[in-house]
C-alpha cells in the first residue's frame, strides 16, 4: 500500500515548496505530478518575484497597498498582508538555496520595475526567473528526501464520509492504476489556461486539481477573474514578459503612437495588466492595430541590455515569428494568462473540505482579487506553498489514515478507465471538442464581456459536454497513453469552464480583469464581494463572501 502523511499533487513551485515544508515538519511526504517536476509551468514565469526588502528602504505595507490596488480592491487584505510580510524571507531563502539572481553594482540583489508598482521591487534572473526558481526548488526537493511520483496522473479523489482518504492515480509509463493513501492532500496543480484558446499557458495547464476539488465539494472563488496578459505573441500566443516594459519598452499602435498616454498617463506601459490589456484591446477594436495586434518596441533599450536581461524572449520572437526585438517592434496582443480564482482557501491553504489544502495558481486565498500584479505569482506559490506544507504536517501528527476499501477503489477506477477506452470510435475528436470550448471562452470571456456573449458560451458548453461523452480514445494501449490523459484532462476543463462563465455572468459590474460592456463601472455598493461557486445536486451553486478590508479603503483606481 502506498501511503504518506502528506501527499502533494503537482510539482511546480508551490507543490515542491509545500512538500519540502511538510517533510521538514516531520511528515512522511510524497509529491505526485503528471509531468517531471522541472517540466512544470512555473518555468514560464519570466519577469521576477516581488518582495519589499527593508534594507533597501522598501516597506511591506507599500507592496501590500500596490497589490490591493492592483486587485481592484477585491483582494483580501488580511491575506495580502500575510504574503507581503513573508516576501522578504521567502526571497532570501530562495537566494540561499542557490538562485542566481541578477545583482546590483554592490553585489546585492538587483531589482527591476514592474507593472502597477510605485517602486522597483521585482527581483529577477534575466527573463527566466520562474525556470531558475523551479530548478533550484527541485534541487532542494531532491535534498529533502520527499518521495516523488513523476509522470503519475491523479484521476480521482478517494473520499469517505466527507473526509479525504487519498487519491487514485494512473502511472502513465505503465498504465497501472494505484490508490495512494494520505492523511492530508495539498493541491498545487496550477491554473486552467487551456480552458481558453489561445493561452500563454503550457499544454499541461488543464485545471485538474481545481476540477477534482470542485467535484469533491470544494468551494471555488473569484473564478470570473481571468487575467489577459498585455504582451502575448501574435500567432501561438506565447508569453512575452512584462520585464520588457519593466526595462522600458513602449507599446505602439500602427502609426507608432504610445497609446498608453490616453489610459494611464502616469504609469504608462507599467499600469496594471488589466488596464494595459483593455487599452490594447480598445485600440485594436478601434482599428489602430495591425492584424489584431499592437507593437511592443524594445529597440531603444539597446542590444546590450536586451542580451543581458531579455535574451530569452528575444529568442522566442526570432524562433516563432521571425522578429528580432533588437531591430524591430514585435507584434503582440492581450492573451489569456492567469487564473486569479481557484479553490477557496484560508492563509494556511485549508479548504472547506477537511484534510484538503490548495496553494499556488489553483488556489484562491484571495491575494490577487480582480487582477494579479506581475511578479506576485511566484511569491504567492512560495509563501502559500510553504504555509500549506507547514500546516498539513502539523495537522497530521495526531490524525490517522481514514480507512477505505483499497481493492474496491482500484477496481472501480480501472473499470471507469476501461469504459473510457472501450467507447465506440464514432464521436468527435478530443481536440475538436477542446478547441470548441477554448475558442468559445476566448470569444466571450476575454478582455471585454457582455451578457449575450457569456450566455451563448454557457449554451455552447452544454453542447460540448454532450459531445465530450462520446469522444473516442484511439489509443487502447497501457504504455504512455497520452490520448487517455488528454481525454481525462478535457473532462476536467469542461467541469470548470461552466463555473468560470457562470461567475462572470453573475457579476454585474466591471472590476479588475472583468470588464463588461453592459456594466462598464465598478459598483462597490453591490459587488464589492467575492463570488463563491460550489457543486450542488443540480449543478453549480453561487454564493457570496465578504472581502477582507484591514487598512486600505477602496478608492477609484488611476495609474
Amino acid at each position: 500500500m502506498l501511503e504518506h502523511d502528506v501527499l502533494v499533487i503537482g510539482a511546480g513551485l508551490a507543490g515542491m515548496r509545500a512538500a519540502i515544508a511538510a517533510r521538514a515538519g516531520g511528515a512522511s511526504t510524497a509529491i505526485i505530478s503528471k509531468v517531471h517536476p522541472v517540466r512544470s509551468h512555473s518555468n514560464a514565469a519570466q519577469g521576477g518575484i516581488n518582495a519589499a526588502l527593508t534594507d533597501r528602504g522598501d516597506e511591506w505595507e507599500d507592496h501590500a497597498y500596490d497589490t490591493v490596488k492592483g486587485s481592484d480592491f477585491l483582494g483580501d487584505q488580511d491575506a495580502i498582508e500575510v504574503m507581503c510580510k513573508a516576501a522578504g524571507q521567502a526571497l532570501i531563502d530562495m537566494e540561499h538555496f542557490g538562485v542566481t539572481f541578477n545583482r546590483d553594482d554592490e553585489g546585492r540583489l538587483g531589482t527591476r520595475a514592474f507593472g502597477g508598482q510605485r517602486r522597483a521591487r521585482t527581483f529577477f534572473v534575466g527573463d527566466f526567473t520562474g525556470q531558475a526558481l523551479l530548478h533550484v526548488m527541485f534541487e532542494q526537493l531532491i535534498k529533502s528526501g520527499v518521495r516523488r511520483y513523476e509522470e503519475w496522473f491523479v484521476s480521482s479523489l478517494i473520499i469517505e464520509d466527507n473526509k479525504i482518504c487519498g487519491v487514485m492515480a494512473l502511472e502513465v509509463r505503465t498504465g497501472q492504476i494505484y490508490a495512494i493513501r494520505a492523511k492530508r492532500v495539498i493541491f498545487c496543480t496550477g491554473g486552467f489556461g487551456r480552458v481558453f484558446e489561445p493561452s500563454t499557458n503550457a499544454l499541461i495547464c488543464t485545471g485538474d486539481g481545481i476540477a477534482l476539488a470542485y467535484n469533491a465539494g470544494a468551494e471555488l472563488m473569484d473564478m470570473e477573474m481571468v487575467q489577459y496578459h498585455p504582451t502575448t505573441l501574435a500567432g501561438s500566443g506565447v508569453l512575452i514578459s512584462e520585464a520588457a516594459r519593466g526595462e522600458g519598452a513602449y507599446l505602439l499602435d500602427k502609426d507608432g503612437n504610445r497609446f498608453m498616454e490616453k489610459y494611464a498617463p502616469n504609469m504608462m506601459e507599467l499600469a496594471s495588466r488589466d488596464v494595459v490589456s483593455r487599452a490594447e484591446q480598445t485600440e485594436i477594436n478601434a482599428g489602430n492595430g495591425v492584424d489584431g495586434c499592437v507593437y511592443l518596441d524594445c529597440r531603444h533599450l539597446g542590444e546590450a541590455l536586451i542580451m543581458e536581461k531579455l535574451s530569452q524572449i528575444r529568442e522566442i520572437g526570432i524562433d516563432l515569428v521571425g522578429c528580432d526585438m533588437i531591430k524591430e517592434p514585435i507584434p503582440i496582443r492581450p492573451g489569456m494568462h492567469y487564473a486569479m480564482g481557484g479553490i477557496r482557501t484560508n492563509v494556511d491553504g485549508q479548504t472547506n473540505l477537511e484534510g484538503v489544502y490548495a496553494a499556488g495558481e489553483c488556489a484562491c486565498v484571495s491575494v490577487h482579487g480582480g487582477n494579479r500584479l506581475g511578479a506576485n505569482s511566484l511569491l504567492d506559490t512560495i509563501v502559500f506553498g510553504e504555509r500549506s506544507g507547514n500546516h498539513a504536517a502539523a495537522a497530521c501528527r495526531d490524525t490517522d489514515y481514514v480507512e477505505f476499501d483499497v481493492d474496491k477503489a482500484v477496481r472501480n477506477e480501472e473499470k471507469r478507465i476501461q469504459d473510457f477506452l472501450d467507447r465506440p470510435q464514432n464521436g468527435d475528436r478530443i481536440a475538436a471538442v477542446r478547441l470548441g470550448m477554448g475558442e468559445s471562452m476566448n470569444r466571450n470571456l476575454a478582455v471585454y464581456r457582455n451578457e449575450e456573449g457569456m450566455k451563448k458560451t454557457l449554451v455552447e458548453l452544454k453542447e460540448l459536454e454532450k459531445r465530450y461523452e462520446t469522444v473516442p480514445i484511439e489509443n487502447k494501449g497501457k504504455v504512455f497513453n497520452t490520448d487517455l490523459v488528454f481525454a481525462l484532462e478535457l473532462g476536467f476543463m469542461l467541469d470548470i469552464a461552466t463555473p468560470i462563465a457562470m461567475s462572470a455572468l453573475d457579476r454585474k459590474d466591471s472590476r479588475g480583469a472583468q470588464a463588461r460592456t453592459d456594466y462598464p463601472n465598478r459598483d462597490d455598493e453591490n459587488w464589492m464581494k467575492h463570488l463563491v461557486i460550489k457543486k450542488g445536486a443540480s449543478g453549480p451553486e453561487l454564493s457570496y463572501a465578504p472581502v477582507s478590508i484591514t487598512q486600505w479603503t477602496p478608492e477609484e483606481r488611476k495609474y
Binding site: 509531468v35 517531471h36 522541472v38 517540466r39 509551468h41 518555468n43 514560464a44 534594507d55 532570501i92 537566494e95 540561499h96 538555496f97 542557490g98 542566481t100 539572481f101 541578477n102 545583482r103 554592490e106 553585489g107 546585492r108 540583489l109 538587483g110 534572473v125 534575466g126 527566466f128 520562474g130 525556470q131 531558475a132 530548478h135 532542494q140 531532491i142 535534498k143 503550457a202 499544454l203 499541461i204 500567432g235 501561438s236 506565447v238 508569453l239 543581458e308 530569452q312 529568442e315 522566442i316 524562433d319 516563432l320 515569428v321 521571425g322 475528436r429 478530443i430 481536440a431 480514445i473 484511439e474 489509443n475 494501449g477 497501457k478 504504455v479 504512455f480 497513453n481 497520452t482 490520448d483
Partner: protein, 322 residues
C-alpha cells in the same frame, strides 16, 4: 503550409515490438514549428502517437527529439527550415531507451544528475541577508543554470554512446554550476570535494571534446565549454594526479618549451612514468607505430621559432603564473 514528416514509431505493446517509420502530412502555419506539426499529427490524424510536450516556448524541456539526425527542441525549430528533399525526419532522442514513439526513458539521465549532488553546499555560515556576489559571476552562472534538462546534449553525446558510465554533458554542466558558484564550497568559493569526485574516472576528463553537446544545446549552456572550465578549476585546486590532468600538463609543457608536441613522452607522462601496467598496455600501439613508420623522434628538438610560442603562453597565462 503542408509539411511532410517521416517519424520513427515504436509500440512496446505490439505483437512484435520494433521501431518502424511512418509518413505523415500536417497542415501548419507558414512559420509553424516542428512541434506544431507533431501536435497536429497527434490531434488530427493519429491519437496513438505519443510525444512529450508542454510549454511551446523552449522553457519546459519536454520536446527534445532528433530532427534530421540531430537533437533539438521541436518547439524551437521552424519546420520550413528543416525540410530535406521535402521531408523532415523525426526520431526519439538518443542514448536513452524508447518507451513509446518519441517518448524516451530519462532514468539514466536523471541518475547522472543525482550523482553530482545537485544542490548548493556552502561550507561557511549562511549570511542573514543575501550572499554578496558580483553581477558578472551571477550572469555567468545564469548562462549555465538556463539549462532546462531537455536531454539534447545527452542524446547526441558521442562518449555516452560508447561508455554509458560517463557522467555526460548535462550532469557535468550542472556540476559546474556549483563549482563555479562563489557561494558553494569553502569561503573562497572553491568546491574542493566536488572537484575531487568529478576528477574521478567517468567524470570531467572523459569528455572527448567532440562539440556535439554545444551544437545540440538549445540554450546558452554550452556543456563542453563548462567541462573544459571545470578541468581548469580542478588543476587550480591542486588535482594533478589523473591521466587527464597529466595529459593536459604534459601536452602544454611540451608545446610551451619546444613549440611542438613530444608524442613519445606524452603517453608515459600522462599515465605516469612508474605506471608499468598501463605502459605495457600501450606497447601494441607503440609496435604498430614503429612498423608503420609513425615512430616519433627519440630526440625531441626545439623548433627554431619556439620562443614565439612561449610568448603566446605568456600572453595568455601571464609570466608570473609560472
Amino acid at each position: 503550409m503542408d509539411v511532410k514528416l517521416r517519424v520513427q514509431r515504436f509500440d512496446p505493446e505490439a505483437a512484435d515490438p520494433k521501431p518502424y517509420w511512418e509518413d505523415f502530412t500536417a497542415a501548419i502555419e507558414d512559420n509553424g514549428t516542428v512541434l506544431d506539426a507533431l501536435i497536429k499529427i497527434r490531434e488530427d490524424t493519429d491519437g496513438t502517437f505519443s510525444l512529450r510536450c508542454s510549454c511551446r516556448s523552449s522553457i519546459c524541456g519536454s520536446c527534445a527529439v532528433r530532427i534530421n539526425g540531430h537533437a533539438g527542441l521541436a518547439c524551437k525549430t521552424q519546420a520550413k527550415d528543416m525540410l530535406v528533399d521535402g521531408v523532415i525526419t523525426i526520431e526519439p532522442a538518443g542514448n536513452m531507451p524508447v518507451i513509446k514513439d518519441l517518448v524516451v526513458n530519462f532514468d539514466g539521465f536523471w541518475d547522472k544528475i543525482m550523482q553530482v549532488e545537485p544542490y548548493l553546499k556552502p561550507e561557511g555560515p549562511e549570511p542573514e541577508a543575501e550572499y554578496i556576489a558580483s553581477n558578472e559571476a551571477m550572469l555567468h552562472l545564469s548562462d549555465v543554470t538556463s539549462c532546462i534538462m531537455c536531454g539534447s546534449c545527452f542524446s547526441d553525446c558521442t562518449v555516452l554512446e560508447v561508455d554509458p558510465s560517463f557522467l555526460g554533458p548535462a550532469a557535468l554542466a550542472k556540476a559546474y554550476r556549483f563549482t563555479a558558484d562563489p557561494r558553494d564550497g569553502d569561503e573562497n568559493g572553491v568546491s574542493k570535494d566536488r572537484l575531487e569526485e568529478l576528477n574521478k574516472p567517468s567524470g570531467m576528463w572523459d569528455c572527448t571534446r567532440c562539440m556535439e553537446c554545444v551544437q545540440a544545446c538549445p540554450k546558452s549552456v554550452a556543456p563542453m565549454d563548462r567541462i573544459m572550465a571545470m578541468r581548469d578549476q580542478a588543476l587550480q585546486a591542486g588535482f594533478h594526479n589523473t591521466n587527464g590532468a597529466r595529459h593536459t600538463e604534459a601536452f602544454s609543457d611540451s608545446v610551451e618549451h619546444s613549440g611542438w608536441l613530444d608524442e613519445l613522452r606524452l603517453v608515459p607522462k600522462s599515465v605516469g612514468m612508474t605506471n608499468i601496467t598501463a605502459l605495457v598496455g600501450y606497447a601494441p600501439i607503440a609496435i604498430q607505430a614503429i612498423t608503420h613508420g609513425k615512430m616519433p623522434p627519440i630526440i625531441h628538438k626545439k623548433l627554431p621559432q619556439s620562443k614565439n610560442i612561449r610568448k603566446i603562453f605568456d600572453k595568455v597565462e601571464g609570466p608570473e603564473q609560472r
